[in-house]
């Protein structure tokens, strides 16, 4: 009886640990995505973050394919300061698919020097491929 109880306990600890590891990796990928899109704009990192069939939706409703999105981010001449990622929540569909929501705020400085505040709600769809979380879908919405 005691043995069974210990086994169950051990198993649930292992499962919980695996889940939190999975979530930790997912949250790290989400921060990396944010830093890359609004910071480094590094195309190799973007290639690694985006799944092949990824679709990328902007806050004004424009939808891009993987290639268009990576190209657009890489060539984006705006710079972003005072960036914050907040209100992050994770919903796991299963071990290999999850939805992440968060708020992104920044000051955007365009090429011509014009500064506009950015306040976005983001819904991200992540799918695990060969042990790595890949961005499968993204939809932004402007927040008031």
């Amino acid at each position: 009886m005691k043995k069974i109880l210990i086994s169950i306990l051990l198993l649930s600890v292992i499962t919980a640990n695996a889940q939190s590891k999975n979530e930790k990796a997912l949250v790290e990928r989400t921060y990396l995505l944010s830093r890359t899109v609004f910071g480094t704009k590094d195309s190799l990192t973007l290639e690694d973050l985006f799944a092949k069939p990824a679709t990328y939706g902007h806050s004004h409703g424009n939808i891009q394919t993987r290639e268009q999105a990576i190209n657009g981010i890489y060539h984006n001449q705006s710079t972003y300061t005072d960036t914050t990622v907040s209100n992050m929540s994770v919903i796991f569909a299963d071990d290999d698919m999850a939805i992440v929501r968060h708020v992104f705020k920044a000051k955007e400085t365009a090429k011509d020097g014009k500064v506009t505040p950015l306040n976005l709600g983001l819904m991200l769809v992540w799918v695990k491929e060969k042990g790595k979380w890949k961005l499968f879908g993204r939809q932004a919405v402007p927040l008031q």
Binding site: I63, I91, A93, V125, L143
Partner: protein, 141 residues
């Protein structure tokens, strides 16, 4: 020869199954839109995943309980939900992602009548209860 035949049969079956899946998914999508308009709690309970996260174009996010109770209280009700385009981005045995352009009319406590043109990203899961909406985010076009 037999090998080729078996292989091509196998792929034909895969394609047929995928088509059946996308038909059942589109049916679930249309059932959900109807259930939201008709405030059909029974259908909503079946079509919305327990962990559903339903994001609106003003940034507001509802959970399952809120969607149903807000329909009942009149906090957010719909007169019409109509898709002008539906693209199934991906579909497999476990889940599907869909992008739609959608016209939604209705009213909320603060807005007596809204008419919205939206772009929507939806994530559906295939469960024992059939297709269920797990996540949705809209933005104004």
């Amino acid at each position: 020869m037999r090998f080729t035949l078996t292989i091509s049969l196998f792929f034909t079956c895969l394609i047929v199954v995928a088509q059946v899946d996308s038909i059942s998914l589109k049916q679930a999508m249309s059932n959900l839109d109807k259930a939201l308009v008709n405030k059909d709690e029974k259908a909503l309970t079946q079509l919305l995943h327990d962990n559903v996260s339903y994001g609106h174009s003003n940034g507001w996010v509802q959970n399952k309980t809120e969607i149903i109770s807000d329909l009942k209280s009149g906090k957010l009700v719909y007169d019409k939900i109509e898709n002008t385009s539906v693209t199934i981005v991906a579909i497999n045995n476990d889940w599907a992602t869909v992008r739609t352009n959608t016209n939604a009319n209705g009213k909320s406590l603060t807005i007596p009548a809204f008419e919205l043109k939206l772009h929507v990203l939806q994530v559906w899961l295939k469960t024992k209860q059939g297709w269920q909406l797990l996540a949705r985010q809209s933005t104004k076009l």
